[in-house]
Amino acid sequence: MWMKPVNTLLLRRRLIKPLVFALCCLPWLTLVLGGFGLAGFSLGANPVEMLLHTCGKWALNFLVITLCVTPLAHFSGWRALFAYRRMLGLFAFAYACAHLAVYLLLDQTLLWSAIAEDILKRPYITLGFSAWLLLLPLALTSTQGMMRRLGQRWSLLHRLIYPASILVAWHFYWQVKQDVREPLLYIAALTLLLGWRLAKRRSRRTAATKKAATPG
């Protein structure tokens, strides 16, 4: 019986984590296959746009998935889920970096004047760029060492994922020409995920003040 916890840990580290990692790489794989026209995948008539949109979309998807971890663990009681949260968050950042790289290298071909104009003059680009800047410190402080060094401030800092995801959803909403159904779906999901956290916090706070108010 005493062997069991060791086994689950090993199982998690050796099998489940690599499996989740591989799953998270699938969107990339489809792009690579598409780039070489393999296995029926294709980047279509506008490959730059396909790369840009796919990476952007998956960066947002992974933000939403990361934000799902806490409520899922809360409602299912399955605390093992927290072991995957950092990896999911880092995938969000990795796809966001790929998205940015495609924009800089392939879309703008490093024309810095055009890039600067875009970031300053186009609100949706300003939003996307701000979101990326908010995600950057989260990725940089994602190591065990940083977590230990920052202590309490670490969880405070990592709440930046909330404003970052709002900015990204807005960035998506603003660049759509007319059919806003898809970005609205993401906005609805984020409202639910962030609203749940707010509600939980408020109920915890009222519970705390009640406790403080009742004597004895």
Partner: protein, 315 residues
């Protein structure tokens, strides 16, 4: 695959157009063998006789046209869905024939005309035009059609006809995109009468020497190469001569972003993105965007239509 390959020379450089179109036909039928049902036999069966003689046009660009594949799998046609890959997926069931156009408004002759009768009177030309989308991408497309003005003159517009309005078919049962209110259906567009009479403005019925595929606006669409693509309305069922400016759908939906004129203009940005450069479809993954030209490169022919106008205000 054969059909994906770009023709290595602009078709306008080939003097014998029959030879060229013969080759395209061969390529299409070869593709038909490979793709099987992907090319509906209906398409070939309904090929009007007018397509047997298509003459080249001096208005064609010498630039290399985009592949048939790119032109027919990546475009905007909200009547069949809002994503670029939607029209090709959702328009295959649409059967445009028989087709008629209703003419009304400020003209001596009005009423319903069959498209077959129109085609019998208007010899077809190939017009290889640049197309610049308002979303900052572009293509080169070998349309088959005839000058819009030639058709309009038949109806003898009166002196009150200052504008021409075009309306797309309104039939949500055949156009699934119309079941979603992303725009106010039916789609409408308009031109000033002098724009409509300009020899560059055509009504297209074909592409690459063949009948226009459904996703490209079959059976009858407008092509105004010096304006953003959304002006070139598809599946036209009504043409109305008007004294006052008609409402066009994109302007109606977002007046601050899309104007009535919608002339291609690198100096007037869309409020949310730059119009200075464009991505040429088919140029490859590493090709930089290219500079957008005033009036999409047709300034020499059309700039005089707008002399004295403030093009930043009349965008």
């Amino acid at each position: 695959m054969l059909i994906r390959k770009k023709p290595d020379i602009a078709s306008s450089e080939i003097t014998d157009s029959r030879l060229y179109f013969g080759r395209r036909r061969f390529m299409r039928s070869a593709a038909g063998l490979i793709l099987g049902s992907a090319l509906p036999s209906r398409l070939l069966a309904s090929r009007p006789a007018a397509f047997n003689k298509i003459s080249p046009s001096p208005y064609s660009t010498a630039e290399t046209p985009n592949s048939y594949q790119d032109i027919t799998t990546y475009n905007n046609y909200y009547e069949f869905g809002t994503r670029k890959e939607d029209p090709v997926a959702n328009a295959q069931e649409f059967d445009p024939w028989p087709w008629s156009v209703t003419i009304s408004g400020e003209a001596e002759k009005t009423g319903k005309v069959n498209l077959e009768d129109i085609l019998a009177r208007h010899p077809l030309e190939e017009r290889i035009y640049r197309l610049r989308c308002v979303e900052a991408w572009s293509m080169v497309i070998p349309w088959v059609g005839f000058p819009l003005g030639d058709l309009l003159k038949e109806f003898q517009p009166t002196s009150k006809a200052k504008f021409v309005e075009f309306v797309t078919l309104n039939d949500p049962s055949r156009m699934p995109g119309q079941r979603v209110p992303v725009l106010r259906w039916p789609y409408r567009e308009g031109l000033r009468i002098d724009e409509a009479m300009h020899p560059l403005a055509i009504l297209a019925v074909g592409l690459y020497g063949e009948v226009l595929p459904n996703q490209s606006g079959a059976p009858l669409r407008l092509v105004v190469p010096w304006k953003y693509g959304f002006k070139s309305i598809k599946a036209i069922t009504e043409i109305r001569f008007r004294e006052t400016a008609p409402v066009n759908s994109w302007n109606q939906s977002q007046p601050g972003e899309y104007g009535f004129y919608a002339n291609v203009n690198p100096k007037v940005d869309h409020p949310r993105w730059s119009q200075a450069r464009e991505r040429r479809i088919g140029a490859g993954l590493f090709a930089p965007k290219q500079d957008t030209l005033m009036f999409n490169g047709y300034a020499e022919q059309v700039a005089s239509l707008y002399s004295g106008m403030d093009l930043a205000r009349n965008f």
